[in-house]
Every structure is written in structure tokens, then in C-alpha cells.
């Protein structure tokens, strides 16, 4: 008894000694410094909503958006890392996560990921990107497919067609029908580099996901020079011939009005185009969304995923903020909220998309992802910097964008140029 009381007294004394620190650490109000490029439109609205949730949980949300291209966000990130003051959390995606994690220490999220059971519900190719050295250091937040097929209802009427094309042959037939039915340009497109890149990746992955994996993701030389890549370039030429040549360097969204009006017929775009269409005031029944054409008739999913990477900080409030943020990002309710605002689909494959608030397009996208993962036909997008680091991606897109704009280049020449460009950038 005596002993015990002495022990408890000791413990009590120790407790007294430690307690202030404990309470301070526990009471450290979670705070999070975040940088991302999401400032306006549905992206801005979604991250603002996420910030509100963070604040509801008692945190202080300090988001500094860097509007514009991803590269501008990266410039700010680079400057902050070099100054020794990285944000607690920043947007980053694809192979860039591995590249950037080598220049500054990141947070080990393994315990939090295990607690949330996140690993089991993330597509394996995607999971690999977010734990480059074996440990989770970043968390994917939402998924888009870059090869969704958008069909203009009015253009379909002009072509007197109601069948959604499944293979590239169907696609080409429908485009021809649209042209004959008076649709000025069967393909709606912008003229930016990612736009051109998307046409190529959709063509190659649709022709053969196996060849895509070998040529684009693992840069296998014989695959790069293989017949599938040549066939993909030939398909891209057809697509380019159906586009409006006047788009010059315009953004694809410039042409949405003409697309909905039936002046342009089909659009191969990322799932985000749904959010952009709705944001521009168009209705869900103005267009149809379907998975991109695939010659083996099973959906091919070109993955593009936004993610957050967590940078090591010493401040207890920032560390508490990182824990809270990681928990929020993996939370199915938060992913639901986020995707419903942006038009993406949740990373978690166990989120139920049958309820209100989800569109048919999103349900189809999620179903396509499930099926594509099951058939090993979910691959990483090169046009949106998911398959390769930026230097390699840019070298490949150089070839593709020149090919789209220069009709004098033959598919054979393009194949040679592509493999040369890859060799040069290695």
C-alpha cells in the first residue's frame, strides 16, 4: 500500500512535470499551410469546401492558391523548399512525387494509411506512385479519366445515330456519319499540348493497353517502335482531320458552345469536362458521356489523379494539421463531397455512387475504373504527367503536337521521331 502510494505519488509528480507539455501538444491547434493551383471554378470551390471541413474539426486552414498552370505552383513550391520553409502540404501528382521527394524530407504516412484501410481501396498502379520509396508520403484525392468520350446530343441527331461507339472503328464510322449529316467538325478540340497528347494516349491505350503500358509507361524500345504505336498515330491523323483547324492555341473549353450546338460532334476529354460544361450553364442532357473507344471492347481507363504530398515540419501545430488533413483526405465522406463538386470520381473504390449528387457520367467512370482495374486495363496518362516525369513527358508531347499540326508527317516518321525523342530525354 505504502509502496503503491509512493509509486503513484512519483507518477503523479512525473505527471505534473510532463503534463504541461502533454496538454500543450494535445492542445496544439491543428494548423495547415497548403499550396495548390486550385483557385477558381469548381476546383477552387472544392478545396474551399475541404478547408471548411478542416476548420470544423478545429483546425486553422491557410491555403495559398497559385493560379495558372501546375508549373507555377511548382515554382512557388521550389522556392519555399529552397528557403527551408516548405508548406505542410502541397498539391503534387504522378511521378513528380518521387522526383520531388528526393529534394526535401516528407512525412511518413504509413500508420495513418493503415488506420484508414486506404491501401486496400486504391488502384495498385496509383498506390505505387504515392509511395515511391515504399512508404506512403502522399495521398491521392480524386481521380479523372483522361479518355472519356463526350457526344453532343444535337450532333448525334444530325447524324441520325443513337449507338455509342465502342471501338475505334465505331468511332470513325460515327464521325464520318456526323460529317455527312452536316456536323461541321465531328471532333471538338482545343489546340493546347495536353489536348493533342490526350488524343494520342486515348488512341494508343484504346488500340492496346498492353502496348501503351510497354511503350509509354515503361518506355520499352521495341514497343515504342511497334505496330500499335504506328496505328495510334494513324488514328490520331484521322481525328486531326476531323478537328476545326482554326482552334490554333485555344483552350478546348472555347469550343463547348459549338459542341453543344451540334456544330462539333465528339470530344475526347478528361472527366473534368463534365464540371466545365455544367459550370458553363449547359445541361446534363445536352451531351452523353461514355468511356473512350477501346478495340477489345473492355473499358480502358487512363488515370489522372490529384494528390497531396506532406512535407516534414517541426512545429507541433503543423504536424497536428497534417494528421488531420491526411484523415480528411482519406475519408469517404470528404472524397464524396470533393468529387461531387469537381465532377471527378473518388479514389476509394468502396464509395457508393448510386445516391443523388452523382451524375451518370461519374457512375460510368467509376464502373469503368473498376472493370479496367479488374482487367489490368487501367493505365497512367502521359498527357497529364502521370506516366513519366515532366522532362520525358514534354519530349513525347513535342512529337505528338507537331504531328497533329503538321499533316505532312506520316505515322511511320512519327514513330521514329517518338522513339528518338524518348532516347534523347532518357
Amino acid at each position: 500500500m505504502n509502496n503503491i502510494s509512493r509509486r503513484s505519488m512519483l507518477a503523479g509528480a512525473a505527471g505534473l512535470f510532463v503534463a504541461p507539455h502533454l496538454t500543450r501538444a494535445q492542445a496544439a491547434k491543428p494548423r495547415l499551410t497548403v499550396i495548390s493551383q486550385w483557385s477558381a471554378g469548381s476546383d477552387g470551390a472544392a478545396i474551399t469546401a475541404l478547408g471548411k471541413k478542416f476548420e470544423e474539426k478545429g483546425g486553422t486552414w491557410q491555403h495559398s492558391p497559385v493560379p495558372g498552370f501546375t508549373t507555377e505552383m511548382m515554382n512557388k513550391l521550389r522556392a519555399q523548399i529552397m528557403a527551408g520553409d516548405p508548406p505542410a502540404c502541397s498539391q503534387l501528382k504522378g511521378p513528380e512525387i518521387a522526383a520531388w521527394s528526393k529534394i526535401a524530407p516528407t512525412v511518413d504516412l504509413d500508420a495513418l494509411v493503415a488506420a484508414a484501410g486506404y491501401e486496400q481501396v486504391v488502384a495498385p498502379d496509383l498506390a505505387r506512385l504515392h509511395k515511391p520509396a515504399g512508404k506512403w508520403i502522399s495521398l491521392p484525392l480524386q481521380i479523372y479519366s483522361t479518355n472519356m468520350l463526350f457526344l453532343s446530343k444535337r450532333a448525334m441527331d444530325k447524324a441520325k445515330a443513337d449507338k455509342i461507339p465502342v471501338t475505334w472503328a465505331d468511332f470513325n464510322t460515327l464521325a464520318q456519319k456526323m460529317k455527312e449529316g452536316g456536323v461541321a467538325h465531328p471532333i471538338a478540340n482545343g489546340g493546347t499540348r495536353p489536348d493533342d497528347g490526350q488524343k494520342f494516349e486515348a488512341a494508343l491505350a484504346g488500340i492496346s493497353p498492353v502496348a501503351y503500358r510497354a511503350a509509354i509507361m515503361t518506355l520499352d524500345e521495341s514497343a515504342l517502335k511497334g505496330p500499335e504505336v504506328k496505328a495510334a498515330f494513324a488514328q490520331v491523323r484521322k481525328i486531326a482531320d476531323w478537328m476545326d483547324p482554326n482552334t490554333a492555341a485555344q483552350h478546348y473549353s472555347t469550343n463547348l458552345q459549338r459542341f453543344v450546338a451540334g456544330d462539333m460532334g465528339m470530344m475526347i476529354q478528361g472527366g473534368w469536362a463534365q464540371g466545365v460544361l455544367l459550370n458553363a450553364g449547359f445541361k446534363l442532357d445536352d451531351f452523353i458521356i461514355a468511356p473512350g473507344p477501346t478495340d477489345n471492347t473492355k473499358p480502358v481507363f487512363l488515370l489522372n489523379a490529384d494528390a497531396f504530398i506532406f512535407w516534414q515540419r517541426k512545429e507541433p501545430d503543423l504536424q497536428a494539421g497534417q494528421t488531420l488533413m491526411a484523415q480528411l483526405v482519406m475519408d469517404p465522406a470528404i472524397q464524396t463531397m470533393y468529387s461531387q463538386i469537381t465532377g471527378s470520381i473518388p479514389v476509394r473504390s468502396d464509395v457508393d455512387l448510386s445516391g443523388a449528387g452523382w451524375s451518370d457520367g461519374q457512375r460510368q467512370t467509376a464502373a469503368a475504373l473498376k472493370e479496367a482495374v479488374a482487367n489490368n486495363q487501367a493505365v497512367l496518362s502521359v498527357a497529364h504527367n502521370m506516366a513519366q516525369e515532366n522532362g520525358m513527358t514534354a519530349a513525347m508531347i513535342d512529337v505528338i503536337t507537331e504531328y497533329v499540326k503538321n499533316k505532312a508527317i506520316t505515322p511511320d516518321q512519327a514513330v521514329v521521331r517518338l522513339s528518338d525523342a524518348v532516347e534523347g530525354a532518357r
Binding site: P245, N390, D398, T401, N406
Partner: protein, 309 residues
């Protein structure tokens, strides 16, 4: 009165007092000059150093020799950019020079409303190149701008689609750049025209020279120092052009309108290849020096001749 004071300082006061008295002037001139020169030179040297390192996402030390330079010069982007720079540089400088001179000579005719016209011609230079580029990208777009206008009026076979023509797209940048900066050339030339010695003109008039002959033989020859200045200023602008192309063509169609500054930005910030970008930047600096050093030498010779004469 002032004369005597000056004489006193020259003879009696110690030199240090003179320096102290002029301290504010020295501070005002030398501190900013040294700071900005130091800033410029130190960053230029730093860029040169980076161009010899294996840096990618962030600067790292190390030595790779000329590897970055050979790699950059072997890329298609750089070769296209360099060819474009020659076309754009020559086309832009010559056209803006001629347009500016023509405008200046026309304005020099003591016409009514000169001030208004001068402001109008000078106005484009007050615009940001991004604005110029964006507006011209609409005007030159065959589906929206000039071509569509002419087609709609009734001349349906009219074609003006340089913006989407790979071979001609670089000239759209020349058009926009000339529009933007010929007012600047005009202002300099006009100042030159106005400073021609009136006696010279009177003498020519007495000798019976007509207006065309007067310009050709008497007035324009006195303008050539200004011409050299305009050429050098426009050339250094041409070499560093970035925002105009970015807004007008985005470097496209394809890679057709790449320019060196675009390649530098692309390498450094889009591809995450700092050292390659730095090498491209140093190459740009060398091109600039190739323009500026002869100019500096020419100025030096001129000054020496003036001193001897």
C-alpha cells in the same frame, strides 16, 4: 558671386570637403548602380555556373562540362527557336524601323492634329505584350478575325490563316510586334528629325532641293546614329521576346513559333531541367552580346573620333 565661391573652393578648401558636400549625389548614383549591377552580374554568373552542373529540379553542385550545352543545341526545340529568332529578329527590326521612319516623316510635315496622332501611334507601347498577343490571336484567327470578316463581306475565297500555318505563323508574331513597337521607333526618329539643324534645311532649300531629295540627301543621313540605337534596342527586345509569343501562338502550331526565351522557360520550369535551361539562357546571353558588343565598340570609336575632331 558664384564665381568667387567656386574659385575659393578650388584653391582653398581640402578635397575631402568637396566629396562630403557631394556625398548625397554619390550615394544616390553609386549605391543603386552597384546594387543593381551586382544583382545582375551575380545572377548572371550564377546562371553560368548552374549551366555547368547536373542540376534538375533544384540547383546542385557538380561539374558536367559542356554536356548541357551540347544537349540543348541538339534538341529540335532549340534549332527551331534559333531559326525563328533569325527570321523574327530581321523581319521585326526592319519592318518596325521602316514603319517608324515612315510615320515620323509623315508626322514631320507640320500637320494638324499631330499630338493626337502621335499619341495614337505611341499608344500600343503602353499595352502589355500579353494584351497585344491575345488581341492579335483573335484578329488573326481565321475563324474569328480578319479572314472571317472579309469572307462574310462577300470575298469568300480570301485566305489569311498565317496563325495556323506552320510556315507563316512566325510572321504573325512579327506583325503584332511591329504594331506594338513601331510607335517607339517613330518617337525616336521624330525627335531626330526635329533636331536637324534648321540652317542645313534652309541651305538645301536655297539650293533648290525638293522635299524628297531633301529627305534623301540632307535629313535622313543625319538620322543614322538614331537608326543604330533603334536597331540595337529592338534587337535586344527581339532576342528576349517571350510573353508575346506565349499569348499569341503558345509556341505553336506544334513547335513552329518557338523562340529561345520560350525554350529557356520550358526547360527550367516545365521540364524541371534547371541546368539545361541555364545553358539555354547563357546561349541567349551570348546572342545578345553578339549584338551589344559591336554596338559598344562602335560607340567607343565614334566618341574617339569626336574627341579627335
Amino acid at each position: 558671386m558664384t564665381h568667387t565661391v567656386a574659385a575659393e573652393t578650388r584653391t582653398g578648401r581640402p578635397v575631402t570637403f568637396g566629396i562630403l558636400r557631394r556625398l548625397p549625389e554619390h550615394l544616390a548614383i553609386w549605391v543603386p548602380l552597384l546594387l543593381s549591377a551586382g544583382h545582375l552580374v551575380s545572377f548572371a554568373l550564377w546562371t553560368v555556373w548552374i549551366s555547368f552542373t547536373p542540376s534538375t529540379l533544384v540547383p546542385v553542385s557538380g561539374w558536367v562540362g559542356l554536356r548541357n550545352y551540347t544537349a540543348v543545341m541538339a534538341t529540335r526545340n532549340w534549332q527551331i527557336a534559333f531559326d525563328n529568332l533569325l527570321l523574327f529578329g530581321c523581319g521585326f527590326v526592319l519592318l518596325s524601323l521602316l514603319t517608324g521612319l515612315l510615320l515620323a516623316v509623315l508626322l514631320d510635315q507640320r500637320i494638324r492634329g499631330e499630338n493626337v496622332l502621335r499619341s495614337i501611334f505611341l499608344y500600343p507601347i503602353a499595352l502589355s505584350f500579353v494584351v497585344t498577343g491575345t488581341v492579335w490571336s483573335w484578329l488573326l484567327n481565321p475563324g474569328l478575325g480578319i479572314q472571317k470578316l472579309v469572307n462574310d463581306i462577300g470575298w469568300t475565297s480570301f485566305r489569311f490563316d498565317w496563325l495556323i500555318d506552320r510556315d507563316m505563323a512566325i510572321w504573325t508574331i512579327v506583325i503584332a510586334a511591329v504594331w506594338q513597337s513601331s510607335g517607339f521607333a517613330m518617337a525616336l526618329f521624330l525627335a531626330g528629325l526635329r533636331s536637324v539643324d534648321a540652317d542645313l534645311i534652309k541651305a538645301a532649300q536655297i539650293d533648290g532641293a525638293g522635299p524628297i531629295r531633301m529627305y534623301r540627301r540632307v535629313i535622313l543621313p543625319t538620322l543614322w546614329p538614331i537608326t543604330v540605337t533603334v536597331v540595337v534596342i529592338q534587337l535586344q527586345f527581339a532576342i528576349t521576346t517571350f510573353d508575346l509569343v506565349r499569348a499569341l501562338t503558345g509556341g505553336g502550331p506544334g513547335l513552329a513559333t518557338q523562340l529561345p526565351a520560350l525554350v529557356v522557360y520550358d526547360l527550367m520550369f516545365q521540364r524541371g531541367l534547371l541546368a539545361r535551361g541555364a545553358a539555354a539562357a547563357v546561349l541567349m546571353l551570348l546572342i545578345l552580346l553578339a549584338v551589344l558588343l559591336p554596338y559598344a565598340g562602335w560607340r567607343y570609336l565614334q566618341r574617339r573620333q569626336a574627341a579627335h575632331a
